[in-house]
Symmetry: C2
Subunit: 292 residues, 2 copies
């Protein structure tokens, strides 16, 4: 083609892909190019706006390091991550819903006993006792499931975010293997709502959108058991003011739990607490994998 | 919203933008989010594919430096740049068409006299004599137009690409002000087709697409004159094997010129050439700006 303009260039670009050998990748690329071209045409994007887009993407890339992923944050804050998660993990009515993975998981956290462990490891915050049951959609307990737990402290920081209180970046995170009862009974700190990092392009974008950067208080869970769809979810704190406006669109109805506050006294693990503490009880219901 | 899934998340994200103050930016962002979500839904993008996309964007960002713009290269090679250029510079029938700016322009190149200048400045290549006329759509010459010229050498490299032959990165580029005749008569080297840089993510993408990275031989022009739409274009070399498959989709029908080869002898500027040389004659026809 020697006379490409806004009306014929999309077909010209797609015609150039006839020899692309990977059919799935071709489907993805063809669809993406069609949508990007339609976007530019429908908005009649100017060259100055196009340049601002190039600059935004470049600055987003430059913000990414081994411990910071600004493109994931961008995908999260425009709801793309949650869309992809949701469409790949459809649930029967009572299985726990999937939500976004987030950027703060660390593989190979300490493997601890499922009853009585304390994952606080120096983190500040009110004590909180989690009692979680891993089960099937029929209500049967699931022994031998690996439960990976991680969360932020009372200020909303994860251990890996240059906190002063974590000497080994293995605080407020651990893994457990469920016993015959499928139950996990552990101690941690009460989670709090917090802002996602705002010192990059995503922070600038949220400001331009007049949106807040907050996430409602939550604890992350990843549950793996052969024969079941790996469950990546959060338990959100009922009553949190940001439940209806989570900046990464991660809240699902059946992932909200009640963090109950108790006065000083006897904790669920038998400890005599000198300060008030919280308890949270939740079910983690796994979806069986259907062989296709 | 507390129960976001692939069917309702797009509306939930857009609802979050109600307070966005900049209406034009809002139009752009709303349209882009709708298209990106539609892309993910229509392709039923998997989490692994989403992650590959994140990694691709991150690596593209990391490739960008002060002298390398991989995101522009990406936009160019999927035809997005040319689409944006075309829809912002519609031409009456005989005005010279606009094409992509490319990443190799340098502002404030040397200002030289429009008759008889030599911009070679150490660059290798066969001699080439350009005769260009800047004119209106009525065929009247345009004096006082600034003509910015830049091009690659006989190997396809621009001076700024770490070449050995350019001591000051101001070779094969210069600016001129047209005189009463609107004519430019200068000496340079004959351009050659060349590959865009392939050592980054765009190179990987082209390989996955089974596409070549070649651009047909061309010389860049930018012509500025008050009252006229600034013309950013190339003159492509007629007969080049890549005219129909320019990897950045920049070829326009009326931007193709004939680079004629001559045996050693008298050049257009009166010089006696000991070696064969080329000549190219072209018109640069400016579109008047219509006040709206």
């Amino acid at each position: 083609m020697r006379n490409l303009n806004e009306d014929n260039i999309t077909q010209a670009v797609l015609a150039r892909l006839v020899d692309m050998p990977d059919n799935r990748l071709k489907t993805i690329v063809v669809n993406l190019i069609q949508h990007l071209h339609a976007f530019a045409r429908e908005t009649k994007l100017t060259e100055e706006e196009w340049k601002q887009g190039i600059d935004f993407l470049t600055a987003t890339g430059h913000k990414c390091t081994d411990t910071r992923q600004e493109f994931i944050l961008l995908s999260d804050t425009i709801g793309l991550s949650q869309l992809v998660v949701a469409q790949n993990h459809q649930r029967s009515s009572n299985a726990t819903e999937q939500t976004v993975f987030g950027p703060f998981h660390v593989p190979n956290s300490p493997l601890l006993p499922p009853r009585g462990a304390d994952i606080t490891n120096g983190a500040p915050g009110d004590p909180c006792f989690i009692s979680a049951r891993v089960m099937t959609t029929n209500g049967e307990p699931l022994p031998g499931a690996e439960v990976d737990v991680w969360q932020a402290d009372s200020e909303g920081y994860y251990d890996v975010q240059d906190t002063q209180w974590s000497s080994d970046n293995m605080s407020l995170r651990a893994r457990f293997i469920t016993d015959e009862s499928g139950t996990l009974s552990i101690r941690t700190v009460n989670p709090k709502n917090y802002p996602i990092p705002t010192d990059g392009t995503v922070g600038q974008m949220l400001e331009a959108m007049h949106r807040h950067p907050m996430r409602p208080a939550h604890i992350h869970f990843m549950v793996k058991k052969p024969g079941y769809d790996t469950l990546i979810t959060h338990i959100f704190s009922d009553g949190d003011p940001y439940l209806d406006s989570d900046t990464v669109f991660g809240v699902r109805s059946n992932c909200i739990g009640r963090f109950l506050k108790h006065p000083a006294g006897k904790a669920p693990d038998g400890t005599k607490m000198e300060v008030p503490f919280h308890t949270i009880t939740c079910d983690l219901v796994l979806e069986p994998v259907v062989e296709s």
